[in-house]
């Protein structure tokens, strides 16, 4: 036990909690609990990324995964149902088979992975060294991640911005920013979940057409 560093113990603890949360998500049927646990999962992975020194990724994961996507999933849940239908056993066995095969393939691939923090691993070598050296001379910014994202790879980032824009545009075109002014109602499984105060609520909703 003496050669276990505290960081490694923290990593293993966080990964173990991730596994527990993943099992809980797979077993639960209540969609509300599942959405909340997905937020917990994102927050745990963010903590793990911080422990791996990937602070920018952790930041994004915490903000997007634990923050926004939880809210969006809740919004989507309100439009559908509160509970997932139980999956038939035959279907579950098929998924289990696929998961086992994929897991075995991953374990097989572990042998080829570079050691953690290896400076000569393919991800760091080649352009990685060049970017770090060039940031010092050409960009002169302390944060290499920003330099790579915004300058060396700015066309990639442009593509990402357009992807985000297209996601927003697609949803706005499909659903409309005002949700067709309340003329449409969510009726999961034909039941009316919205109660009676929905009517006058929508009367006050100005700025009409979707």
């Amino acid at each position: 036990m003496s050669n276990l560093s505290p960081t490694l113990i923290l990593d293993m603890g966080l990964l173990a909690m991730l596994v527990v949360v993943a099992f809980a998500v797979a077993r639960l049927r209540s969609l509300f609990a599942i959405v909340m646990l997905q937020g917990v999962y994102s927050l745990l992975s963010a903590a793990w990324f911080v422990s791996l020194d990937a602070v920018d990724v952790a930041f994004t994961e915490a903000a997007v995964g634990a923050g926004i996507s939880t809210v969006l999933m809740l919004g989507a849940m309100l439009l559908t149902d509160r509970d997932a239908k139980p999956v038939p056993v035959g279907q579950a066995l098929g998924s289990l088979f696929v998961v086992i095969i994929a897991g075995l393939a991953m374990f097989y691939a572990i042998g080829d992975m570079p050691a953690f923090g290896d400076a000569n691993s393919p991800a760091n070598a080649y352009v990685g060294f060049e970017y770090i050296a060039a940031t010092k001379n050409d960009i002169i910014l302390p944060n290499v991640v920003t330099a790579v994202l915004a300058s060396f790879r700015s066309i990639d980032t442009f593509g990402e911005v357009v992807v985000v824009y297209m996601a927003g545009l697609g949803i706005v075109l499909l659903l409309g920013l005002n949700g067709n002014a309340g003329k449409w109602r969510a009726r999961p499984n034909g039941q009316n979940i919205c109660g009676q105060n929905i009517g006058q609520k929508n009367m006050s909703n100005k700025g009409g057409q979707s």
């Binding site: 926004i68 944060n143 442009f158 409309g176």
Partner: protein, 147 residues
């Protein structure tokens, strides 16, 4: 009196701080972790928190959907426009050095990064709020007992 009075008071205190933190992340991204993407999402989450606590209609009064629509496109235009500006200055698309070719401390790069990160901020924050508005406007307004 609303049953959520503590929630309202606390979030009234927190929402300006969240927005301020978003701008810190935006403009400190050159020196520490963060940047346009993170700042945009944090800023959007301030608006979404406002909508969750005070209602979607109130949020739409504060941040009208038309702003969201314009902001989304404006972000992409700022980013793309920065690239076009470097074209005009004689460089390649998004080669920021041409903003200040004589600078010895890479000022052109810094200006370019500032501009594109601003574009990312507008696009991401507006797109997130747009997606939330789109979903939130469709969902029926819930009473507390329904949760």
């Amino acid at each position: 009196m609303s049953p959520h009075v503590i929630l309202r008071v606390v979030s009234k205190l927190l929402i300006p701080l969240i927005a301020l933190f978003a701008f810190y992340v935006q403009f400190h991204g050159d020196y520490g972790p963060g940047g346009g993407f993170q700042a945009g999402v944090i800023f959007a989450s301030a608006i979404i928190l406002y909508a969750l606590v005070f209602g979607l209609d109130e949020a739409k009064r504060a941040v009208p959907p038309s702003w969201v629509r314009i902001g989304m496109s404006l972000g992409v235009l700022i980013y793309g426009g920065t690239g076009v500006a470097t074209w005009m200055l004689g460089g390649e698309f998004l080669s920021f050095t041409f903003f200040a070719p004589q600078s010895t401390h890479a000022a052109g790069q810094h200006w370019g990064i500032l501009a594109v990160e601003l574009g990312v901020l507008f696009a991401v924050a507006s797109a997130m709020v747009a997606i939330f508005y789109a979903f939130g406007s469709r969902a029926p307004e819930l009473r507390d007992e329904d949760w």
